[in-house]
């Protein structure tokens, strides 16, 4: 292999050679620079591949031909190789990116860039602390130089502030090195030897060295200077500054810390404070580069925390730290380079990216990498990190990391929302080709790093799972017309169902039918759209892929991976709605919060055993079981939008597109229910200080059912009404699931099926009406029964089925409910359920009355029936409901047998005619027949009396002798249930919404208040750096100076 010292030799040699090239021949100078950077990258790449292939050992390179303590030695291990590759590659790409800036400033700037990259690789490789100091000084001066490349006049001031703080840091470092040398007798890091945690003599010396290295890493209170550089420097340089120099400085700190593990807690403390602090402050930023500055400071803080835990992480330390570092470096470099493409600096101006879908995809990839979503390295790293920390019972640290990651996800996805939804400033010249090329290369690097980390990880590689690949294939198929893609999607879903059919147990079978076959039926409605419909099919198929894998997940990893994939897919799907931006943001915030709770729960349950079987949830240690239960339950309840975690649902489902709403509402909510099912299946009767946790779930279910319904009554927007009704129905399902008896579970399953059918049907019907009337507000509609008979029929059948009126399957649910509560030991919540039953009937009647009955508005007179393709799935659902009402046993019999494995007693006998339970008998066919006969006979009686009734026009009504002229005044729909509002309005006060708004406001207030800390004055920054050292010294020495 080529000796790594050549990286430094080539870098320097080329820098000096540039001196020979005369001033005006810039092309040659630039070519030389690129060649040198390419050579350095190739050497690093050679070593990295050698280490990856395993045929290379960690090599120590001696300089001056003498052994280490007497001369400087460099080391090239796997970590060093990877980092040098990262640094050199970032340098190379940045050089290409900054081509015109380098041309403008001539060969000197190129020399400075070359020396900067050489110095960074030097920091990574050197094993001598004074040599480290020299390279750090080189970086300080090179940064001072490269900051000048920026067009922004303010960069000059930022550079000066940086130099001032760098002086303070170098003083500390030099003193520290001197006294460490005096104490240890050698300047080589390996000889420094373990220094005990103490603040006198060698301890104090090492403290000074460490604090200087930490200051170099821009710790939270003392990093104003770094943020000014991020904001004003050339984006090409900011990419190097954040990805390369951040990583190099971090590795330097890691090397020094490795010698004396006693000091690791100091790193953890500083790291976690920086991670949380910087993330909170980033909330109030609206300058894109300054936001990226805060985010990269936060990520470096997270990495410092991981370095601080290196003794606990042991041999998977490289994998975790590497994963987070690679994700941070690639994403940050990519985002900085993209900021160069966008003309203006406000977050909302990134909307210009919509001109090029590939850039939007790149932006999404980078955001997903930073937040640590599958299939990128950050995901695997975060998974292993949480597990190991939990096993080492450092739950508080996991909690802090997850909270920080959630805040970061918050402001990143808000930014992504701005990019996709806000209108782009006009007069945009367009993107420069070579900069886009760089961003595209980074995108590829991101996905390959995802693949690599997937392979390296002990858990299965997310990118190797067939459903995910099928979803990603749709990225390639984007140019095809929508209808063909729709066909492929349906074929894919049904094919996967048929392929996996034998592997399903009855419970999984029911969910599989709903997700796969149900998904295919809803996709029929998507035939309604012409054109290519960019950005619809990949997220949709990603969601279905996540759902399909969720129900088959054996290990906790596949469960969690599929959970996050379906969250990601559904977020992009919901974001497509016209006004869905704020709601999509609250959706992703709640979902990720829930997902992180699940991650913490799995980590606590696994307690170090990888891979952790889902079935093993049953035998979790008693001490941890209640907390695992609570965490997982909260995580799953964010998905079923139980009360308290529900405020994202109405907006997300209402503002989504017509065919997305049924998908998200009918199918996606079932994921949360499936999770709860698995949880209760394994950890049913967990006690928490003597109280059975399932009691809480019963109560939450009942309250959600009641309040969900109550809120639905007062909605004016049809889709919001249906969304709130989903909350109520999910509350019902949670209630019956938590009853923990045979019939309870059977009822929950019937709910899963019923809710999917009629919620999708109603959403499609309302969607069809919206397609024609272009409004969702019910009081603006009315009298559409004559124009849209099919939609009316489907809504009517939906109402009858949902409200439990006898002939249809809803009554079957009520009958099983009655039998279930007979044996349940919980009495009080049942009262809420009794009341929420009829309330369900109320809001549905409001839906059908305000839209279809009453007065027809003038502008709707010439409307046609809902689009054909929206009606087809509705009619399929109507037939299914009728069939299911008459023959419920078809599906339920097998499931009933399966449930009796959990709850043997209290089952049902399925005779040919009817169903016999312990308390009663229900013969659906007989009831249907009797009611049918009575109905027909009465109808015939009326026909006999009144066969020649004459159809009258609209306003021919006995209206106190007057003839009303305007349909608006005579259609009673606005504030339909006024008496209810007067009587029970107080129950619907937005308590939960105000609570969550208060939480976000507090965060934003602290951010706004805290960021004033950075006054912009260079001297203040130096003072803060000094203060940082002094405070650490005081805390460290226990306050005894």
């Amino acid at each position: 292999m080529v000796s790594p010292i050549l990286i430094i030799a080539i870098g320097l040699g080329a820098a000096f050679l540039l001196g020979f090239v005369n001033e005006d021949r810039k092309g040659i100078a630039f070519a030389l620079t690129l060649a040198a950077l390419a050579a350095m990258s190739l050497i690093a790449l050679g070593w990295t591949l050698a280490f990856a292939a395993g045929n290379a050992q960690t090599a120590d390179i001696l300089t001056a031909g003498f052994p280490p303590p007497f001369a400087i030695n460099l080391r090239m291990g796997p970590a060093e190789a990877a980092l040098s590759l990262l640094v050199a590659a970032t340098g190379f790409l940045s050089a290409i990116y900054m081509r015109d800036a380098l041309y403008r400033h001539g060969r000197r700037a190129m020399a400075v860039l070359l020396v900067a990259i050489m110095a960074l690789t030097g920091i990574v490789m050197t094993r001598d602390i004074f040599n480290l100091f020299v390279f750090f000084e080189l970086i300080v001066i090179a940064t001072g130089g490269l900051v000048l490349l920026s067009e922004d006049r303010r960069a000059l001031a930022a550079g000066f502030k940086y130099l001032v703080v760098a002086q303070v840091i170098s003083i500390m470092l030099l003193i520290g090195i001197a006294f460490v040398y005096h104490a240890m007798g050698s300047l080589n890091i390996d000889d420094i030897g373990p220094v005990a945690l103490g603040f006198s003599g060698a301890g104090l010396a090492l403290f000074l060295v460490l604090v200087a290295l930490f200051l170099e890493l821009k710790p939270f209170p003392a990093n104003g200077w770094a943020l000014d550089i991020y904001e004003s420097a050339h984006p090409g340089f900011s990419a190097i500054f954040s990805a390369a120099s951040g990583s190099a400085a971090l590795f330097a700190a890691d090397k020094v810390l490795a010698t004396s593990p006693a000091w690791l807690p100091l790193a953890t403390a500083i790291g976690i404070i920086t991670f949380i602090g910087a993330n909170i402050l980033a909330l109030r930023q609206n300058n894109d580069r300054r936001l990226l500055g805060y985010s990269s400071v936060a990520q470096i803080g997270l990495l410092l925390t991981i370095v601080g835990q290196r003794d606990l992480l042991g041999d998977s330390y490289l994998f975790i730290a590497g994963g987070v570092l690679v994700a941070h470096a690639i994403a940050k470099a990519g985002l900085f380079w993209m900021s160069g493409l966008v003309g203006h600096r406000d977050l909302k101006d990134w909307a210009v990216l919509r001109a090029n879908p590939v850039l939007i995809f790149a932006f999404a990839t980078f955001v997903a990498m930073l937040v640590g979503l599958p299939p990128f390295p950050g995901f695997y790293a975060k998974w292993d990190l949480a597990h190991i920390l939990m096993a080492g019972d450092r739950a508080w640290l996991v909690a802090l990391i997850l909270i920080g990651a959630l805040i970061e996800a918050g402001y990143l996805f808000r930014w992504f929302g701005f990019a996709t939804k806000r209108e782009a400033p006009e007069g945009f010249p367009g993107f420069s080709v070579n900069k886009m090329g760089i961003v595209f290369v980074t995108l590829l690097a991101g996905w390959t790093s995802g693949w690599i980390w997937g392979d390296l990880s002990a858990n299965p590689n997310v990118l190797s799972m067939v459903p995910v690949l099928f979803a990603l294939a749709f990225l390639v198929l984007e140019p095809l017309p929508a209808r063909i893609k729709n066909l492929i999607a349906i074929a894919g879903l049904v094919g996967w169902f048929v392929f996996r059919y034998p592997a399903y147990d009855p419970l999984q079978l029911v969910f599989a039918i709903i997700i796969l076959v149900g998904g295919a039926v809803i996709f029929l409605a998507s035939f309604n759209w012409q054109g290519r419909r960019l950005g619809f099919y990949p997220p949709a198929m990603l969601m279905y892929a996540g759902l399909a894998m969720l129900i088959e997940a054996e290990t906790s990893f596949t469960f969690f991976a599929s959970w996050e994939i379906l969250t990601l897919g559904s977020y992009f799907l919901i974001l497509r709605g016209k006004m869905s931006e704020p709601h999509a943001l609250s959706y992703i915030a709640f979902s990720l919060g829930g997902a992180f709770a699940i991650l913490a729960g799995f980590a606590l349950a696994a307690n170090g055993t990888q891979p952790f079987e889902m079935a093993a949830l049953a035998d979790v240690a008693q001490t941890a079981a209640p907390y695992v239960f609570i965490l997982l339950a909260v995580g799953f309840m964010t998905k079923t939008a139980s009360i308290g975690l529900h405020i994202w649902l109405p907006g997300a489902h209402a503002e989504a597109e017509t065919d997305v709403s049924p998908m998200v509402s009918g199918i996606l909510l079932k994921a949360g229910l499936f999770g709860l099912w698995v949880l209760l299946m394994h950890m049913g009767q967990t006690q928490f200080y003597g109280i059975n946790l399932t009691y809480f779930l019963v109560w939450i279910g009942a309250i959600s059912a009641f309040l969900g319904g109550l809120m639905a009554i007062f909605q004016e927007d049809a889709k919001r009404l249906l969304a709130y009704s989903s909350i109520s129905q999910m509350g019902y399902a949670l209630f019956s699931l938590a009853l923990m008896n045979h019939l309870g579970w059977l009822l929950a399953l019937m709910f899963v099926i019923n809710h999917y059918v009629y919620k999708s049907m109603l959403f499609l019907a309302v969607g069809g009406v919206y397609a024609r009337t272009h409004t969702k507000l019910m009081y603006k509609m009315g009298g559409l029964i004559t124009l849209m008979p099919f939609s009316f029929v489907s809504v009517l059948i939906g109402i009858i089925a949902m409200s439990g009126v006898p002939p249809l399957s809803g009554f079957g649910g009520r009958w099983v409910f009655y039998n279930a509560i007979m044996t349940a030991d919980m009495r009080l919540p049942i009262i809420l359920i009794f009341l929420s039953g009829p309330i369900g009937f109320l809001y549905l009647f409001r839906l059908i009355h305000s839209i279809f009955l009453g007065q027809l508005k003038d502008e709707h007179r010439k409307l046609k029936e809902a689009p054909f393709w929206l009606l087809v799935p509705q009619m399929i659902f109507v037939l299914f409901l009728l069939a299911f009402a008459v023959v419920p046993g078809l599906i339920l019999r097998r499931v009933d047998a399966y449930i009796s494995t959990f709850f043997p007693e209290g089952g049902l006998e399925w005779t040919s005619g009817g169903i016999i339970s312990e308390f009663g008998y229900w013969n659906p066919v007989a009831i249907m027949l009797v009611i049918g006969v009575i109905f027909v006979s009465v109808f015939l009686l009326l026909l006999w009396m009144n066969h020649d009734a004459q159809k009258v026009k609209q306003f021919n009504i006995g209206f106190a002798g007057e003839r009303p002229y305007r349909p608006e005044t005579t259609h009673f729909a606005w504030n339909f249930f006024a008496p209810y509002r007067k009587a029970m309005g107080f129950l619907v006060l937005p308590v939960v919404t105000t609570f969550w708004n208060a939480v976000t406001d507090v965060l934003h207030e602290t951010a706004d208040f805290a960021r004033k800390f950075y006054t912009g004055n260079g001297q203040t920054y130096a003072l803060q750096a000094l203060g940082f050292v002094v405070v650490l010294f005081l805390i460290g020495s226990g306050g005894t100076p």
Partner: protein
């Protein structure tokens, strides 16, 4: 006022930290293991009399290479910074009094002497105290004298950058030769160690020190040059 008080408090506490460092400091009775190695093995291994020069050039050669690069960077960036700021153009060296007869003849007489002394310093840096940096500084002071005496004079840019780059590249080449010919990068045994104490001894150390001297001298002069020219354009 509050800032001054806060700074005072911080500096006081830092003083305490340094105080504790100073109190705990006990001068060693004997040299530590690294120093002993250098004391005993410098002559056989490098053949240089001046141990500090040996450490600077061979043992910790990478540091010195880094350091020379620091100067190279400073020269380049100072030129960049000043090139960016277009100042008031009031002609070259205007406003300064023409230097008197005495000054010019004195300069003409002194400059060669200073140059000679500078070269002497860095040529036998490995024998007597002094070396590349000191020699370079002296050369620069010669250039400085010329500039002060005759502000309008301009050194040819070509010469300065050629000397600077040439010595830099040659220095790196020596390092690379060390890698292939001798033990490692920047090893001075690529040339015979010669007999102890003479000018042409200690392998490549004098050569490297000479190069450093030239490079440092050229860099300082170019820093002064760019400062001088700042007002031209």
């Amino acid at each position: 006022m509050v800032r001054a008080f806060v700074t005072l408090v911080f500096v006081a506490i830092l003083g305490l930290a340094f105080g504790r460092l100073a109190l705990d400091y006990v001068p060693d009775a004997a040299l530590n293991q690294t120093a002993v190695h250098y004391a005993e093995l410098t002559p056989p291994e490098t053949g240089a009399q001046n141990v500090v020069a040996a450490i600077i050039v061979t043992y910790r050669g990478l540091d010195t290479l880094g350091e020379v690069t620091v100067l190279f960077l400073t020269a380049a960036i100072v030129a960049l910074v000043l090139a960016q700021t277009s100042g008031p153009t009031k002609g070259r060296g205007s406003g300064l009094l023409p230097s008197g007869e005495l000054l010019q003849t004195g300069t003409r007489m002194l400059t060669p002497l200073i140059l000679l002394f500078g070269i002497y310093v860095f040529v036998n840096g490995h024998l007597t105290p002094g070396g590349g940096f000191q020699g370079g500084a002296i050369l620069a002071s010669a250039a400085l004298l010329l500039l002060l005496a005759d502000p309008v004079r301009r050194f040819s840019h070509r010469l300065l950058s050629w000397v600077e780059s040439g010595s830099g590249v040659f220095y790196v080449l020596i390092g690379v030769f060390g890698l292939f010919l001798a033990g490692g990068f920047l090893d001075n045994r690529i040339l015979p160690l010669g007999d102890f104490g003479s000018i042409f001894s200690a392998g490549a150390i004098p050569l490297i020190y000479a190069l450093i001297g030239l490079k440092v001298g050229a860099e300082f002069s170019s820093i002064l040059e760019s400062l001088e020219e700042a007002e031209d354009h």
